[in-house]
């Protein structure tokens, strides 16, 4: 199946972004992680990387176009032969007369060992919101749901009748978010910690997360809230404000395996699993789209696996 390239949301209050240039042409081979186009937001111009290997096809948005966040702007197809189909699909409004051939299995994320990445099953089967139409909810309910990371579609699917009001949010399944996890070889990091006197593992995780965030989500300073096991919250960097983009929980000194807190803010938990580290990213797809989350966790994992790369 072809991979949809969407206009990413690159800032908090951003509705759209302008395509500055396409760095790859239709039909060119692209590799996951390779920059394929540049966009300009209200803050900066950034390169957007491919999230899958394949061939760029069906470019729908020309350079200079202001494209709403989330709109599909191109496809990445598996075989060069499919490129032409998507080109014609993009330009001919009636679309291809023939159904496209059944594509091979998708490549959901650039994780090097896809079998190790797993998506936690949601508590109930959630029908796609788009199929069921707009969710009827009060303005207050929508605001509070957003603040608490509650997925109104999931709430509706769980049987809460519309319109959804603020009090109905109490029935929201705990969490209401998606979970991605990965197991990473820990030898290099352990060696590094051993070598450097006074090195702080948690701070290193925070540094990795910061750098990965800049690469995968937004090329701008990000602040992290480090949640301590004593209930404390420590900003990282130390001078960061209260509204962190990501929270970090280091469970490596405990027997615990993962933690996916409720709330809309993405959370990264790091735990020991033998010699390896188990990294868990919980996130609300409404705020952090799955492809971005996948790219983020992958980038963190890459840095944990090879910390020297980060330190250089």
């Amino acid at each position: 199946m072809p991979f949809e390239v969407k206009m990413p949301q690159l800032g908090m209050n951003q509705d759209s972004a302008v395509i500055v240039s396409w760095l790859k042409a239709a039909g060119e081979k692209v590799a996951a992680g390779e920059a394929i186009f540049e966009v300009e937001t209200d803050k900066a111009t950034v390169e957007v990387e491919a999230a899958a290997d394949g061939f760029l096809a069906g470019i729908r948005a020309p350079e200079g176009a202001d494209v709403p966040v989330g709109d599909v702007i191109a496809m990445i197809v598996d075989r060069e032969a499919e490129v032409g189909e998507h080109e014609s699909a993009a330009t001919a409004p009636d679309g291809p007369a023939e159904a496209p051939p059944t594509p091979p299995a998708p490549v959901p994320s650039p994780a090097p060992e896809p079998n190790e990445a797993e998506v936690a099953a949601p508590p109930k089967t959630v029908p796609p919101a788009i199929a069921a139409g707009r969710i009827l909810a009060s303005a207050l309910a929508k605001r509070v749901a957003s603040e608490q990371g509650i997925d109104l579609a999931a709430l509706r699917a769980s049987g809460v009748s519309e319109p959804i009001h603020a009090r109905d949010l109490a029935q929201a399944p705990a969490g209401g978010h998606s979970v991605l996890s990965t197991r990473v070889e820990g030898g290099a990091l352990a060696a590094l910690l051993e070598r450097s006197e006074g090195a702080n593992r948690t701070a290193l995780f925070a540094a990795f997360a910061t750098s990965a965030w800049r690469a995968a989500v937004e090329d701008a300073a990000v602040s992290i809230a480090i949640r301590g096991l004593d209930g404390s919250i420590t900003p990282y960097p130390a001078d960061a404000g209260a509204d962190a983009a990501l929270s970090l929980i280091d469970l490596c000194d405990t027997r615990l395996g993962s933690f996916a807190p409720a709330g809309g803010t993405p959370a990264l938990a790091a735990a020991r699993e033998g010699d390896a580290f188990l990294l868990t990213l919980s996130f609300n797809e409404g705020r952090l789209p799955f492809p971005t989350a996948a790219a983020l966790l992958d980038a963190i994992a890459a840095r944990v696996e090879d910390p020297i790369r980060q330190l250089l």
Binding site: S138, A139, L140, E162, P163, H165, R167
Partner: protein, 331 residues
């Protein structure tokens, strides 16, 4: 504290201000010996004489115009407009002359006059003596609009109106003239633009102007029996409007019903509801509901007239529906 009727309260306010300031005078149809059809001004002519309590011919635009000129040149007239419905007759003098003189003259002229009139249906007076037309004047910049909801407000707001340097229109509910309320003997004024929270509540805010305040209070009692806690607010003046008090309340309760006796379309309820929707949107858990008078000329037959105005039962029923979270696309 003693209780007096709304009619006595207005009378006292006018008399006190006429004693305090010799430029204050009263002008209108049958305000002197007759004391108006509602007997609100009875006795004033005995104290102040026909020079300051002036009976006029039946010429509303004429005596309103006179008041504008007198106010512009140093007097403080109180115009008595016998029925609110006659506002249509005086619109040029009120809206083109009084309301605009200060602005058009770049602040050189001002018109410190009060136009007191009334509103309210269910007096079986039919379409030309039953209208509540305050929204009409509230629409015009330069006019202030007060809507007393009891004898207490009637006195305090009237005194403030007389001392105000701008044209003020006061609407008294003609069905409330004989209603008594506690009114202090000592002097007091009620500032414009300060709403009164009559009852604190948790689940829904009921905003009621003039006699709709009593309707809201009665509705709140009914709701309390069903375990619904309503907050009742009387804006007291709609221009200026105490937006802050209303918004604060709605942010707390997350639901609001605006009740007013003017026609619902393009009316006072619409204006207040719109401000709530604009400024407290993300606190709303239900649509803001307008409850005005039906958009029909007021009918004569009691069987029909009573259907046209908001009642405590209707307000309570509506509150039930929004607190229950019914899907409301139209009421």
């Amino acid at each position: 504290m003693r209780s007096i009727t709304l009619s006595q309260a207005v009378n006292e306010a006018i008399a006190e201000e006429m004693r305090r300031d010799e430029t204050v005078f009263l002008i209108g149809e049958d305000v002197a010996e007759a004391g108006t059809p509602f007997k609100v001004t009875s006795g004033l002519v005995e104290e102040f004489g026909t020079g300051r309590v002036i009976d006029t011919p039946i010429a509303e635009p004429g005596f309103t115009g006179l008041a504008v000129g007198a106010a512009m040149t140093g007097a403080r007239p109180i115009v008595d407009l016998m029925f609110g419905d006659f506002l249509f007759l005086v619109m040029d003098q009120l809206c083109n002359q009084a309301a605009k003189a200060h602005y058009m003259s770049g602040g050189k002229l001002n018109v410190p006059m009060v136009l007191r009139t009334n509103l309210g249906a269910t007096r079986r007076s039919a379409a030309q003596h039953s209208q509540s037309l305050h929204a009409l004047v509230a629409h015009i910049p330069g006019l202030k609009v007060a809507m007393p909801s009891s004898a207490y407000e009637a006195k305090g707001l009237m005194k403030t109106a007389i001392r105000d340097n701008n044209p003020v229109v006061i609407f008294e509910d003609k069905l409330m003239y004989q209603d008594k309320a506690p009114v202090p003997e000592e002097e007091f004024l009620i500032p414009f633009g300060e709403a009164n929270i009559l009852l604190e509540g948790r689940d829904v805010t009921l905003i009621g102007t003039s006699s709709m305040r009593q309707v809201c209070e009665a509705a709140a009692e009914m709701l309390a029996r069903d375990g619904i806690s309503a907050e009742v607010i009387d804006p007291r003046t709609i221009v200026p409007l105490d937006e802050a008090t209303i918004l604060e309340s709605v942010k707390k309760t997350s639901r609001a019903i605006v009740v007013d006796e003017g026609h619902q379309n393009f009316g006072t309820t619409a204006e207040i509801a719109a401000r709530i929707s604009e400024k407290a949107f993300y606190h709303l858990d239900a649509p803001v509901i307008r409850m005005g008078a039906m958009d029909v000329p007021v009918p004569f037959s009691p069987a029909l007239e009573d259907l046209t105005v908001p009642t405590p039962e209707k307000v309570a029923e509506t509150a039930h529906r929004i607190v229950a979270g019914e899907l409301i696309h139209a009421l």
